[in-house]
């Protein structure tokens, strides 16, 4: 493998790196006036990176993936599919940001640059085939995320969110690194392939602790129970476009990265990781469902909803089969659409002075003042609850189907039972919107970009989304096939 091929395989990341550095310098000279231009250019860079991704995926003999830099990085269908979702989610969180920040007069050109940095990190995370590459990508993403969380630095809640995220994130990185060092010590390599070949048969205590610590660090990054405690605070405190970003792109990256580590590096130790993933999945589903019931803040509620959904995603992974990973990738695509749609709806919750509203009471009777937004909200909530015929149901159906096919009937049964509990609070929001006395707090905003995005995402998760199955399912299957 010569250098030119390696560079070609990482060209999406190279393009994003060059683009973000140029934009960083432009932001230094252009100042706050250039924020809008830089946002558009950043979105264009992400779009160009997605095109490069497709060009690479259409190379001949790409089917089994192409290894770059002597096995530190791989470009394959799994990574490409995840990256495509990541770039898409990043572009959407760029599109909705300027107007949100403008209300407070705080929009700065560093926002799109940080999103680009995070996107580079996430791209490296999902393509890493070595623990060290993985860690570099993870930290690049996390460090950008810490700054993004505290982007409104005059706001106490935003600064607090950033600080909390940083301290707990550093702790998780420490656990992950300790785990990596133990796994390295017992297997003699940081490469996933070599770890997978070495850690077979009965697992001794040392490497077992390493595996457990690595999984704990990863569980923190995907905000799975019992490492979820930062999620509600960070999601509530961070500016809403940043929360929408956190709930979509980094989640895709972290889940995909976890899947690759588990299947490729710990693939010989199914008994060890499967117990952990099953526990984490069930705990996330149950806690995400129960803890959300009492929430009065919509962003906090959606944070628990995302914990809940991570549990469903992990059920597909827990199956440990190709079908399971394919179902997980499919559900990820639907999840990103649902969660971005729900957060853009939250962005539209503004009072007559343009101040953002976050309480559930302010939603009361929304159907009478803004029927369109109310209908979209209802579609996203029903879809997140997994009620047929909405598209969220199909995603859930696929992961449960995979779990049953892998002989994990009890897991599927408990998961389905807990999703009924979760349906309660989703439907409660619909009830508040449609049947409560109008509070009239939320006024019409007439934001074309946001309304257009809501419409497109709502159509995607509506029953019309089923028409997209023939085009998404083969991608998910190809992605899963790349791991096995």
């Amino acid at each position: 493998m010569d250098l030119a091929t390696s560079l070609w395989l990482v060209s999406p990341e190279i393009l994003l790196s060059l683009g973000s550095m140029i934009l960083l310098l432009m932001s230094a000279w252009g100042g706050e006036k250039s924020a809008r231009l830089i946002t558009i250019l950043a979105a264009a860079t992400l779009f160009a990176a997605a095109l490069l991704l497709m060009a690479i995926a259409h190379m001949p003999d790409f089917k089994d993936g192409a290894v770059a830099f002597d096995g530190l990085y791989i470009a394959d269908n799994f990574g490409s599919a995840a990256k495509f979702l990541i770039y898409l989610a990043a572009i959407i969180s760029l599109m909705v940001a300027p107007r949100f920040f403008k209300a407070g007069g705080l929009y700065r050109p560093e926002y799109p640059v940080l999103i680009l940095f995070a996107a580079i990190g996430m791209g490296i995370m999902v393509s890493a085939t070595d623990m060290l590459t993985l860690y570099i990508g993870l930290e690049l993403n996390s460090l950008s995320a810490y700054v993004l969380a505290s982007f409104i630095r005059t706001d106490v809640r935003s600064s607090e969110a950033g600080l909390k995220y940083f301290v707990l994130g550093a702790l998780a990185s420490g656990m992950l690194l300790f785990g990596i060092s133990l796994v390295y010590g017992f297997s003699g390599s940081t490469s996933f392939a070599v770890i997978g070949e070495t850690l077979t048969g009965d697992l001794a205590t040392g490497p077992l602790i390493g595996v457990v610590l690595v999984l704990s660090g990863l569980a923190f990054k995907i905000s799975a129970v019992p490492f979820h405690m930062w999620t509600p605070d960070v999601y509530e405190g961070a500016p809403t476009p940043v929360t929408a970003f956190f709930a979509s792109a980094p989640k895709v990256a972290a889940i995909a990265m976890t899947a690759r580590v588990i299947i490729e590096a710990f693939g010989g130790q199914t008994a060890a990781w499967q117990q952990i993933i099953v526990f984490v999945a069930l705990a996330s589903i149950v806690l995400g469902a129960v803890a959300a019931i009492g929430q009065q803040n919509i962003k906090r509620l959606l944070a628990y909803s995302s914990i809940n959904n991570v549990g469903f995603l992990l059920i597909g992974l827990a199956a440990g089969t190709e079908q399971g990973v394919s179902a997980m990738m499919f559900y990820l695509a639907v999840y990103v659409a649902m969660t971005l749609g729900a957060f853009i709806c939250v962005l539209e919750m503004r009072d007559s002075e343009g101040q953002p509203l976050e309480s559930l009471e302010s939603l009361a009777g929304l159907s009478q003042t803004r029927p369109g937004l109310a209908a979209a909200f209802a579609v996203f909530m029903f879809s997140l609850a997994g009620i047929p015929p909405l598209f969220g149901f199909w995603g859930k159906f696929l992961v449960f189907d995979a779990a049953v096919a892998a002989g994990m009937l009890p897991l599927a049964v408990i998961g389905i039972a807990a999703s009924v509990i979760g349906a309660f609070y989703y439907i409660k929001i619909v009830k508040i919107i449609y049947f409560d006395e109008p509070s009239g707090q939320i006024v019409k905003t007439g934001h074309k970009t946001e309304n257009g995005l809501i419409a497109v995402l709502a159509l995607f998760v509506s029953p019309l989304g089923y028409l997209a199955i023939p085009s998404i399912a083969p991608i998910a299957d190809a992605a899963a096939a790349a791991l096995f």
Binding site: L3, L24, L25, S27, A28
Partner: protein, 124 residues
């Protein structure tokens, strides 16, 4: 079974080091008391030059610019720490190693230009 006697030299070294460093601390103190130069005054005991008061409420106001300087220092300190092993192994890593380091330095320079332009290096 690990043969602990292998570690005897390091144990001995630690004992010697602890003994010697304790002697360096306590001997001058003892000698100064015996020879009569021990004559503390408020002025002598107060901190001087760039020192902060040693005993006071730790929740004092602290200029945030110190953190900025500290972070910048760490970045460029690490850069130097990177450059040393790179320089001595350049005969093995050849042009690829040289190119990689230049990319790294380029990225660092972009960050440096940004912080300069944004006024992070100006104290006032």
């Amino acid at each position: 079974m690990v043969d602990l006697s292998e570690y005897a030299p390091i144990l001995l070294f630690l004992f010697v080091a602890a003994g010697l460093s304790a002697a360096f601390v306590f001997l001058p103190m003892g000698v100064s008391r015996l020879t009569g130069t021990h004559n503390p005054s408020a002025e002598k005991l107060s901190e001087y030059e760039c020192g902060f008061p040693a005993f006071e409420d730790s929740r004092s106001q602290f200029d945030v610019r110190f953190y900025l300087v500290a972070i910048l220092f760490i970045i460029f300190d690490l850069e130097a720490a990177f450059l040393f092993p790179w320089a001595v192994s350049l005969d093995q890593t050849a042009w690829l190693g040289w190119g990689s380091m230049m990319v790294f330095l380029f990225i660092l320079t972009v960050g440096f230009i940004y912080e300069w332009k944004m006024g992070a290096l100006e104290w006032e």
